[in-house]
Symmetry: C2
Subunit: 365 residues, 2 copies
């Protein structure tokens, strides 16, 4: 059987190794596994969200309210936009997929930073669209502008991952707004704010406001409940943009794209902003331990506006070797070799997890 | 902003009206709403699945094991196939989407019965592929063969919804196998078995076995946890086919496409086949009440192999009027007017729900 031509060359996204796999492959007891590979919230989620899920699973036989009325209203209040400006996705990943299918085809292209969220490229490949990246691994607006101008007719989607996964850097909001205004009205600039809560907390100059984005005709803001909100396992994300963009991409949303408990959890989680503050405070307090470790051990790191930190190694050390050695000891980190970097991304965990990871890492470097 | 040309003409799938909407619009108390519109299991789900979800929500911050190892192993055991023959979707809807994107493009076409699951057509429209249907509303293999032969070069996907949603009829398995063997090896025949547990229980001649489908090079079987398993709100479905087909469509699966509690629920639900038997027995016992009502009131109905029954009205009655009148009284049924039928699809509910629906319906017809 033949498949559409783009299928044959498609890579498969390598998700962070699950705890279950380490248990199966290395026979390590579940309680001894430390997974700091997928930027999950080490504090769990809000007790309000947990309570909402506990109630909601009793209705697991019932499809969710597909209008997502209450969730959209809650997000609209949070961000000072209208619920008509919001689309809900199964993670913000799915909103990326909607955008790609609405704007791209094999005659068009996307543009992103050199090293950024892998799914942008994968979705472009699903469609057979062309992919342009900057030579700079991190976001460099001058390079992005240059590339955009060089391929203006082709590029219909530009991704700014702010702050950037898997590197952690972030642009200033004013520079971003200026960049968007320099882009044609038929090219959409996607502000992927999956980790924006962290960046905003660390430095208010990084804050991109969805209420500013909805005023533009060529940009969309993406948010998620997977990171600061601690609901990675529930798969809820959203896109915020002007009505015209939301109407178009909503047509690609299949009904019931999030689960009944996911909907309940997200609605409840928004009500508990104290949990978010606690998450952010813990994150940046613990991050200092990693920065200190790196400095003391001669490891380069990228100042991070997220809930992870990326350690870059010189040629005397190999990230794959280090990750493999740690894995055998039940510690799961994210090797960035597949991104072309001799680097490891480490999620900021609980104090106990962080101490264990750094103690083990110390012996392996 | 311009979007890909197929977007502008896309319809939006009209999901069954949620209970929340009836509460909001008509001010009816939640406990007085009867929703028999979305073929949800009126008995809920297995207590084992409920228990698994209760445990699992404690890990809502953690992404699921994206290999879906245990779920695939459980399905492989259930169906006597290999886990390599299985792909997991966010509902079987998503597996349909994978198949469409792998096989269709604007130069190709899909074929289905005249009235069948609406998402086939919607996904084809997402891609801009052509849609062929038989003039027969229900599955008519002679007509399907005729249409296929008339447009053989274009048709790359054929849907057989067995039993058929929203009409309820089902073909005999032997006829289906014979049909598949008459179809070219480059055209995939999708056996959508979302309601197959019901059909098999009523008449073993309807049973399509995934273990037979994996031996073929041009067919895929779809199953779901949304119907007999009572997990509609959890969005878990699957496709079973030979390795080559599964490998190709798996490339279009984004990571973490089901939630952490959904994964736990599905694994546990498979272990409780007694719950499935109870569901099936209750369903066909209660269905008799609907059949009797229809006969007594001169309403035509299609003998159903599913968990719903479709009442077809003559010109003296209008399905839209009836549904609207019921809705104001807090009873949600599925009007089939948008399918071009003066008919209503009613999910078989609990005994109490069924009595209330039929008593109210009696006054409206």
């Amino acid at each position: 059987m033949k498949f559409n031509s783009q299928i044959s060359n498609l890579p498969i996204y390598e998700a962070g190794k699950p705890i279950e796999l380490v248990i199966r492959e290395f026979g390590i007891e579940p309680q001894n596994v430390v997974k700091l590979a997928s930027n999950e919230n080490p504090l769990g989620c809000s007790p309000l969200a947990l309570e909402a899920m506990k109630e909601s699973i009793k209705c697991a036989n019932l499809y969710p309210d597909d209008s997502y009325y209450e969730l959209k209203e809650s997000l609209a209040n949070l961000y000072h936009v209208s619920s008509k400006n919001i689309v809900i996705g199964s993670g913000s990943d799915q909103v990326i997929e909607f955008i790609m299918h609405a704007k791209l085809n094999p005659n068009t292209a996307m543009l992103s930073a050199g090293v950024t969220f892998a799914m942008y490229e994968i979705y472009a490949k699903h469609i057979g669209a062309k992919i342009y990246k900057t030579s700079s691994a991190t976001h460099n607006l001058n390079q992005l502008k240059e590339q955009y101008l060089a391929h203006k007719d082709e590029i219909k989607v530009i991704f700014l991952c702010l702050p950037n996964n898997p590197l952690g850097e972030c642009l200033d909001a004013n520079d971003v707004y200026e960049f968007i205004s320099s882009v044609d009205s038929d090219t959409i600039v996607v502000i992927d704010g999956a980790y924006m809560e962290f960046a905003k907390f660390k430095d208010s100059k990084k804050a991109i406001n969805p209420s500013d984005i909805v005023k533009l005709n060529n940009s969309i803001y993406l948010g998620t409940f997977s990171k600061a909100y601690g609901l990675g396992g529930m798969r809820v994300g959203y896109g915020i943009a002007n009505d015209q963009i939301i109407t178009a991409i909503s047509k690609l949303r299949a009904p019931f794209n999030i689960t009944t408990p996911s909907l309940a959890a997200a609605i409840a989680a928004i009500k508990d902003q104290a949990f978010i503050t606690q998450t952010l405070e813990n994150n940046f307090k613990e991050m200092k331990i990693f920065e200190k470790f790196a400095t003391e051990n001669g490891i380069e790191f990228i100042p991070s506006y997220t809930n992870f930190i990326t350690f870059k190694f010189d040629t005397s050390r190999d990230s794959t070797q280090i990750c493999d050695n740690l894995l055998r000891q039940g510690i799961i980190l994210r090797n960035l070799k597949s991104y072309g970097l001799n680097a490891i991304r480490i999620t900021i965990g609980t104090s106990k997890q962080n101490i264990k990871v750094l103690e083990t890492l110390k012996k392996e470097i």
